[in-house]
């Protein structure tokens, strides 16, 4: 630590006003405050003294995602070797290492490109670096398929940071969740790499290896949407031994993350709870209306027990880590209830009714991100009207 402090102090004059690298001050500032508590205090106005700041909030969310990330690494390797019929012979370490070899580069690309774009914008716009990307940079690899080429990750990240965030004024000003913007971009720009039954499990075989007979790489949702056989049990889905985006498969790992977020109070329990209620409501509504489905595939999908939707696909990941994004979600407490409920409700509706988008949670959250300010507006207006009415009755009495 002393070493870092010395280095920072020795280069500091270059980044001050009049120094050689004056323009790069935001970069210096970003690194310095990343390592040490800044020495300056606010000069005016009211401010709150609190142990929690943006950096700590972000790091907590990143830590909450670590279980899903580690599980994703092992799961990617496990599925790869299962597809090759080698699951029995390979050790836990082999599988984990295989996944890590593919996922760590994605993380590096995501953080490198994303922070690079942020630094460039900070230098142009002359404001200090915000920590918002720490979470997005971790989320983006977790919601991508294992086989996506790294350059597509990079392009999606650039799009998400520039169009999803910087256009609106940077961290805290964005309308849409940046990580989901990246995924939506990749989904529409490179559909063959983002959907279907080929991309979720890596089947590249080395010499002497071959894919086992009867192998299917379809996700659970994909199988249901096309009426195919589902070869995974409910226990598999809950534990996460299923194909899917890297971080989304294991409901258990996500629940650990959710516990961290809820214990620290960083994510809103209202959104998570109402999201689950919304999904269950839609799921059981479907059960009730299943006899009226228009096709046998849809009927079998609709008659799926409502609660099973919670452990399939990206629902759990989305509702825990993305719907609760404090920037793009509704801000008022009553608004959060409505927002969360509709996220869950629409996620299941899109999932079942639109076979082109087997994963509805992405669309549902993006859609509700756009609607969140509207919800807040009406919640606040209702409150104002209520108080006006109360005032009128008090005056009359």
């Amino acid at each position: 630590m002393k070493l870092f402090k010395n280095i920072l102090d020795s280069v500091k004059p270059h980044f001050e006003e009049g120094g050689k690298f004056e323009k790069l001050h935001p970069v210096y500032d970003g690194f310095a405050t990343f390592l040490f508590t800044p020495g300056h205090t606010s000069h005016s106005g009211a401010h709150v003294r609190d142990a929690i700041d943006l950096k700590r909030t972000m790091i907590t969310v990143v830590m909450a995602m670590v279980p899903a990330l580690l599980f994703g690494m092992w799961n990617a390797g496990n599925l790869h070797y299962t597809a090759l019929g080698l699951a029995e012979t390979m050790t836990f370490g082999d599988k984990f290492l295989w996944g890590a070899m593919r996922i760590v580069p994605m993380l590096i690309v995501s953080y490198g490109v994303g922070l690079g774009v942020e630094f460039i914008f900070c230098i142009i716009k002359k404001h200090s670096i915000q920590e918002g990307y720490l979470v997005s940079g971790m989320l983006i690899p977790l919601i991508m398929p294992i086989d996506i080429p790294l350059w597509m990750v990079a392009v999606s990240v650039i799009f998400a940071v520039v169009i999803g965030k910087e256009v609106f004024g940077g961290t805290g000003m964005n309308i849409l969740n940046p990580a989901l913007t990246a995924r939506a971009f990749a989904f529409f720009a490179y559909p063959t790499y983002m959907s279907g039954d080929k991309v979720w499990i890596n089947t590249s075989a080395d010499a002497g290896q071959s894919v086992v007979d009867g192998f299917s790489g379809a996700t659970v949702l994909g199988s249901y949407a096309t009426g195919g056989d589902v070869q995974y049990s409910v226990w598999d889905m809950f534990m996460g031994f299923i194909p899917g985006s890297i971080g989304e498969t294991s409901t258990v790992a996500i629940l650990i993350g959710a516990a961290i977020l809820l214990y620290t109070g960083i994510a809103s329990w209202r959104i998570m709870l109402s999201g689950v209620i919304g999904a269950l409501a839609m799921g059981y509504l479907f059960n009730a209306f299943a006899p009226h489905a228009i096709s046998p595939e849809q009927q079998s999908f609709m008659s799926l027990p409502g609660w099973q939707h919670l452990i399939m696909g990206g629902f759990a990941f989305g509702i825990v880590f993305m719907a609760t994004d404090p920037v793009s979600a509704a801000q008022t407490n009553r608004g959060k209830w409505i927002y969360g409920f509709l996220v869950g409700f629409f996620a299941i509706m899109i999932r079942v009714f639109n076979p082109a988008y087997p994963e509805g949670i992405m669309m549902a959250i993006l859609f509700m991100n756009v609607m969140a300010p509207l919800i807040d507006h009406y919640v606040i207006q209702a409150n104002i009207n209520k108080r006006k009415k109360r005032l009128a009755t008090v005056k009359a009495a």
């Binding site: 597509m152 392009v155 169009i163 256009v167 529409f188 720009a189 490179y190 559909p191 790499y193």
Partner: protein, 224 residues
């Protein structure tokens, strides 16, 4: 046009500074698409490829400059109350003319542009220029104004189409620009960006142009 006064003026040179501004202003600071935000629908719909965008730009160029001249010639004869109808008749006749020519000589493109050639009639740029300029100015000035606005429309259209065709199909004017060997099917790594072919990306591209333009000229930013 009631206010058109016959003031004895010195004859203005054909390309005086003021007249040249009629052409150059719409290219940047009062661009019909990015600043006045008119004619957006066609800019989103027909910019998937460069060639249709070019044909569309030329059609608008013809309709706008010719229409401006015709309206300007008739400006003292049109009764105020029915001026919109007269304008519509003029622009509709010109558009039908363009449509017939396109069908005769570039049938494929005409099919691709489909309804959007007909929709030039209701293109806000054209009605806007008739109302705002041709009704109160001399034919020559109106002609220049028409040219300027059509060029302003054209360069935005072509810029958007350039990026959409290059990134979305790897081509320019139908010629393959991205080497075939780059594509995944040929053993490469590259894949065209499918989002570029969808209308939202045209909106985003126009938005980026507006963003760049307003960062360069901060006077264009509206006060809240």
């Amino acid at each position: 046009m009631a206010e058109v006064q016959e003031v004895k003026k010195e004859r203005e040179a054909l390309f005086s500074k003021k007249n040249r501004k009629l052409i150059t202003d719409p290219l940047n600071d009062s661009n019909p698409i990015t600043v006045q935000v008119l004619g957006i629908c066609s800019a989103l719909a027909i910019t998937v490829k460069l060639y249709p965008a070019l044909v569309m730009s030329l059609s608008v160029l013809f309709v706008l400059s010719a229409g401006n001249v015709v309206i300007s010639l008739m400006r003292n004869l049109i009764p105020n109350r029915i001026r919109i109808i007269v304008q519509l008749v003029v622009v509709a006749s010109l558009v039908i003319l363009v449509d017939q020519v396109l069908k005769a000589y570039v049938y494929d493109v005409s099919k691709e542009l489909s309804v959007f050639v007909g929709l030039i009639i209701t293109n806000c740029i054209i009605m806007g220029r008739f109302e705002a300029f041709a009704l109160g100015n001399t034919p020559w000035k109106s002609f220049l104004d028409g040219l300027g606005n059509a060029f302003g429309y054209a360069w935005i259209l072509l810029t958007v189409a350039f990026f959409r065709e290059l990134l979305g199909s790897g081509q320019l004017f139908g010629f393959q620009i991205v080497p075939e060997s780059w594509y995944l099917s040929e053993g490469g790594f590259y894949s065209n960006n499918g989002l570029m072919l969808l209308p939202p990306m045209a909106l985003i591209t126009v938005g980026i142009i507006i963003w760049v333009q307003r960062s360069r000229n901060t006077e264009l930013i509206e006060e809240n």
